[in-house]
């Protein structure tokens, strides 16, 4: 499944993601990590903790609709994986981000921007295993 190269849209999107991370640090002094936000909404440490994460998550849900206003359509979502693989992948992501204390946003963006050695190690590791997994699925199994 080919996708178009979109450097301008992707760079602009990346800049907005960065601005939101900076905004959260400025306002609440917290790392913008999707894993932490979701975990904090599901298993809150306190009501106070739950509230700001819930507001952040609710705002995220609105994002695609703002995109609709700007671009005239909802963001494209093309899923090459079958439903069983989507379930397997989702479950593994859930295990991995819980053990690894973060994902692409927390480690890959915020942690690397803080020059955290843990985040560099985490990001290097998952980029490598993602690449290997895609290679095995696409070129060895041939799905």
């Amino acid at each position: 499944m080919e996708t178009a190269f979109t450097p301008i849209a992707s760079l602009t999107g990346g800049i907005l993601i960065g601005l939101s991370a900076v905004s959260l640090m400025l306002l609440r002094g917290r790392i913008m990590g999707a894993t932490g936000v979701l975990a904090g909404v599901l298993l809150p440490a306190s009501k106070y903790d739950w509230t700001w994460r819930f507001l952040l998550l609710a705002g995220m849900f609105v994002g695609p609709w703002v995109y609709l206003l700007l671009a005239g359509q909802l963001p494209t979502i093309q899923v090459p994986a079958t439903t069983p693989l989507l379930l397997l992948g989702g479950f593994l992501v859930g295990i991995g981000v819980t053990l690894g204390s973060g994902c692409t946003s927390g480690h890959g963006v915020c942690g690397m921007a803080r020059l955290s050695p843990r985040s560099f190690a985490a990001t290097g590791t998952f980029m490598l295993t993602t690449g290997l997994t895609v290679y095995v699925i696409r070129h060895m199994i041939g799905a």
């Binding site: 080919e2 996708t3 849209a9 992707s10 602009t12 999107g13 800049i15 907005l16 993601i17 960065g18 601005l19 939101s20 991370a21 900076v22 640090m25 400025l26 306002l27 609440r28 913008m32 936000v37 979701l38 975990a39 952040l56 609710a58 705002g59 849900f61 609105v62 994002g63 695609p64 703002v66 995109y67 963001p75 494209t76 979502i77 093309q78 899923v79 090459p80 994986a81 989507l86 397997l88 992948g89 989702g90 992501v93 859930g94 991995g96 053990l99 690894g100 204390s101 946003s105 890959g108 942690g111 921007a113 190690a121 985490a122 590791t125 998952f126 997994t133 699925i137 696409r138 070129h139």
Partner: protein, 148 residues
């Protein structure tokens, strides 16, 4: 005011994800498929986000504290351990299979796309099971070794 601004921060993130292509598994998987249908777009997402965050954090950290909290709450652990690397490795395998990462999927959940709902349900299951098992392992260790 702090609630409204937190909500707007979430909108900014969700709009950025939507624009970037991170919510599109085909695009994510193509980024990693260098020997196949390679689409380098996501390097621009990562590059833009990291550079803006790096500069922005430097400016924010000139302050004594965030605007609405008494202090910054930052991870202090700098130790590399097996748990971090194993977890990140497993995350990558799941990301490569599904094409969604949590940051890409959560904003996409706002569209109620069925595939995203399925992915997020499995993601939550994986998170809860892992948390429950590691809580139990921690409790067992506490029982075996009385607190000092």
């Amino acid at each position: 005011m702090r609630h409204i601004l937190t909500f707007l921060t979430g909108i900014l993130f969700g709009t950025g994800i939507s624009l970037s292509g991170m919510a599109n598994p085909a695009k994510v998987i193509n980024f990693f498929d260098i020997t196949g249908t390679w689409d380098p777009s996501l390097a621009f997402v990562m590059g833009g986000a990291v550079i803006v965050t790096f500069i922005g954090y430097h400016l924010v950290f000139r302050r004594q504290a965030p605007v609405f909290e008494p202090s910054f709450d930052l991870p202090q652990n700098r130790r590399l351990d097996v748990r971090l690397l194993t977890g990140s490795g497993i995350f990558g395998v799941g990301w490569g299979i599904a094409g969604f990462c949590p940051g890409g999927a959560l904003p996409a959940l706002g569209t109620m796309n069925a595939d995203v709902v399925i992915f997020v349900a499995a993601l939550i299951a994986g998170m809860l099971v892992t948390r429950a098992l590691s809580d139990r392992a921690a409790a067992r260790t506490d029982n075996a070794q009385p607190a000092e």
